[in-house]
């Protein structure tokens, strides 16, 4: 009798393993914005579509868009886990604690959280070194501006954004010490109306190049209408500003998503902490356009130098707003300090909440 039961159990195990192989790997995505934002969430969704293209029937993806980073997030993430997803990507910082809570309850489901710092055996983190791109566009802006005034539209004062502003400024100062950056906080990642208003206000204050760290193409459209230059964000926005866009810092998650799903299929998935940049292909510069050849050449050289590791955007000497040298010559800012960056470099006319 006992042996019979054992045999049945072995058979059942074999059957379930076989069906597990036949069944597609289910992958869920949680987006903070609408997939049609043409920015952050759009690019994550492009990554999801790349999965479907690469794996075909072997993968089944679902997503929930416009999930606010408040009380609803945990429910949505949990729903995805309970629906039998093998791997769940939560793609905004504010999903960190809910993802961690759900990961604790679903130890067999793998979770990946973008831009956070909490990890567990079944919870990995990933992010991209967008500041590398910001350094390049800083150099381009430094060369292209005529008024020496750059308008910078930003979402929230979090380290990611502050790091971007600093990288941009360091790049710009390296070619143009007189450059000024005017900053407007719109307190939203996606609000085309507010972003457009900020763009107009900055142009009225003399900015002839716009930089954005918000997700909609509205600032690019305003730049196109008003005849100034702009840099796209997250996706290639040249269709919204064919004459305005100099380049765009594109988030490319496709390769990473494919690798991680493959790892789940192979049973080799591990909780990791990934922070990839230009060299990993996570940060991609859109075509350099609407600029003279020598500026384009400088941008390409800078890009190559960062990719090879020869140039680090946060290499000393760096002075803060108070004029103190915070990074000495020959040193670079550590990853940990980059991740928690909460101070401005010299020359930025703005104050951070302390």
């Amino acid at each position: 009798m006992k042996r019979l039961m054992m045999a049945a159990a072995v058979l059942a195990l074999g059957l379930s393993a076989a069906s597990a192989q036949d069944e597609p790997t289910k992958v869920g995505f949680v987006y903070v914005g609408p997939v049609g934002d043409f920015g952050w969430s759009y690019q994550h969704d492009q990554g999801r579509l790349a999965l479907e293209e690469a794996f075909g029937d072997k993968v089944e993806t679902t997503y929930v868009e416009n999930v606010s980073e408040g009380p609803d997030a945990e429910r949505v993430i949990r729903q995805l886990a309970a629906d039998g997803n093998d791997l769940v990507f939560t793609t905004s910082f504010g999903f960190m604690n809910p993802t961690e809570k759900v990961a604790r309850r679903f130890p067999d489901v793998k979770f990946e959280h973008a831009t956070g710092y909490k990890r567990a055996d079944n919870l990995a983190t990933y992010a991209a070194r967008f500041y590398e791109g910001r350094y390049i566009i800083g150099k381009i802006a430094g060369r292209m501006t005529e008024t020496n005034t750059i308008g910078y539209i930003v979402s929230f004062p979090i380290p990611e954004v502050v790091r971007g502003i600093n990288a941009f400024m360091l790049g710009a100062q390296s070619v143009n010490p007189d450059i000024q950056v005017k900053i407007i906080w719109v307190n939203s990642w996606f609000d085309p109306g507010k972003e457009a208003d900020a763009a107009k206000a900055l142009i009225d204050q003399g900015a002839d190049i716009l930089v954005q760290h918000t997700d909609s193409p509205a600032p690019m459209q305003v730049a196109e209408q008003r005849g100034v230059y702009a840099f796209g964000q997250a996706s290639d926005m040249k269709e919204f500003g064919p004459n305005a866009q100099l380049t765009s810092i594109v988030d490319d998650w496709s390769q990473y998503y494919k690798e991680r799903v493959q790892a789940v299929m192979d049973g080799t998935w591990e909780s990791t902490d990934t922070w990839g940049g230009l060299d990993a292909g996570m940060v991609v510069m859109a075509e350099y356009r609407n600029m003279p050849d020598d500026v384009k050449q400088m941008a390409e050289e800078t890009e190559a130098a960062i990719r090879s590791g020869e140039l680090h955007p946060f290499a000393g000497p760096i002075t803060n707003q108070a004029g103190e040298v915070v990074v000495a010559e020959g040193e670079v800012v550590s990853d940990e300090d980059l991740l928690s960056m909460n101070w401005y470099v010299q020359g930025i006319d703005d104050k951070l909440p302390q």
């Binding site: 429910r75 729903q79 604690n97 380290p159 909440p353």
Partner: protein, 363 residues
């Protein structure tokens, strides 16, 4: 032919009760048509939307978690609206409740839950109450329009929270991200189920409904609120103080919104974040009216609206429907409700040709 709308002499009592039910039925019917037009299996879609949230214990729990702040706030607002006081700022009172309760939770830290939690909750209630006291006093003392003042104070409250979690209350261990530290276990609401998120806040909501349902018809205060709304002159003749009523309903609804806020941050989120509400304070206005300003009605309305959100998510997951469809549905529901309502009070008649055409014949 022309259309004539006339007032009914006596609106039907039965229909007043049935109107929300009819509105929901019509919404489901409209849903069937919309899904069929979109090329989906309409029965499956409607099932996912309206039935699936109630079919598993887990999703039922989630419905209640989401409904409880709506019901708590809705009950408070119904008192205001009955007394013709237009408190539109429940979102701000909710936020202040969360800020004050959360602030106390962060300040006390560890301790006995029997001591810490009551302090945290009391702070939340007082926070909401204090925030509501501002428009209440502005109305009673300066006759300032409470719609404007309460609404504007909402934005002040939201920015206050924003400032606190990005500045002074930011988690020192949190890499400078905008969020407070997680509350100590002593300052979090007890969870009622082993695997879920159902917390004590649900009990607060039910309690509020019960108290309001008993007290509103049975107490002098309840009577004065109803008279102040339906016949202000009679209320004055009866010697009810107008400002007394305004203050009472405003402070009560503020306190309930504050309680909802502190329950949400100590129960669901367990920390302060820049975003702590998906618009509960505003959705609760809909809930209050959907429930016909009746406490028990509000309980049902809160559950229905919350289920439509969760059903919307399930439909998004299983059918790939866009999130906007859930919003369209809520819009349709309100439309039918208002339409049914106006038909209770008015009748529509088609009249034959107007006299003017005959006059033209003669001329």
């Amino acid at each position: 032919m022309r259309l004539e709308v006339t007032r009914r002499a006596a609106p039907s009592k039965a229909m007043a009760f049935l109107s929300p039910v009819i509105a929901i039925a019509l919404t489901v019917f409209a849903g069937l048509l919309i899904f069929a037009a979109a090329g989906l299996d309409p029965l499956r879609a409607v099932h996912l939307y309206f039935v699936s949230p109630f079919t598993s214990l887990y999703s039922l729990q989630e419905v209640l978690v989401k409904a409880s702040p709506l019901v708590l706030i809705g009950v408070g607002l119904s008192l205001c609206f009955r007394a013709n006081v237009w408190n539109i700022g429940a979102e701000g009172q909710y936020t202040l409740g969360a800020v004050c309760g959360g602030g106390v939770a962060l300040a006390i830290g560890e301790g006995s839950p029997f001591l810490v939690l009551p302090c945290v909750i009391a702070a939340g209630i007082l926070g909401g109450l204090a925030w509501a006291a501002i428009p209440a006093l502005l109305k009673t003392v300066f006759r300032a329009n409470e719609i404007l003042t309460s609404l504007m104070l909402t934005y002040v409250a939201l920015y206050l929270l924003d400032y606190l979690v990005r500045g002074p209350w930011r988690d020192p261990m949190g890499f400078n991200f905008p969020q407070s530290a997680l509350f100590e276990p002593a300052a979090t609401l007890p969870v009622l189920t082993s695997d879920g998120r159902l917390h004590l806040g649900v009990a607060f909501a039910v309690l509020a409904v019960a108290i309001a349902a008993v007290a509103l018809p049975a107490t002098l205060r309840g009577f004065s609120i109803r008279v102040a709304g339906s016949a202000p002159k009679a209320a004055r003749f009866a010697g009810f103080s107008q400002s007394g009523t305004v203050l009472f309903v405003f402070l009560t609804s503020g306190a309930l919104a504050g309680l909802a806020g502190v329950a949400e941050v100590t129960g669901t989120l367990q920390q302060l974040l820049p975003e702590i509400s998906p618009g509960y304070g505003f959705t609760a206005i809909i809930v209050a009216f959907l429930g016909r300003l009746n406490p028990v009605g509000i309980l049902f309305a809160g559950v229905v609206l919350s289920a439509s959100y969760i059903g919307g998510e399930v439909a998004q997951l299983r059918l790939g429907l866009p999130v906007e469809v859930a919003m369209v549905f809520q819009g349709i529901l309100l439309f039918f409700l208002l339409a049914c309502d106006s038909l209770i009070h008015h009748r529509i008649a088609f009249r034959r040709a107007a006299p003017r055409t005959e006059a033209r014949h003669v001329g």
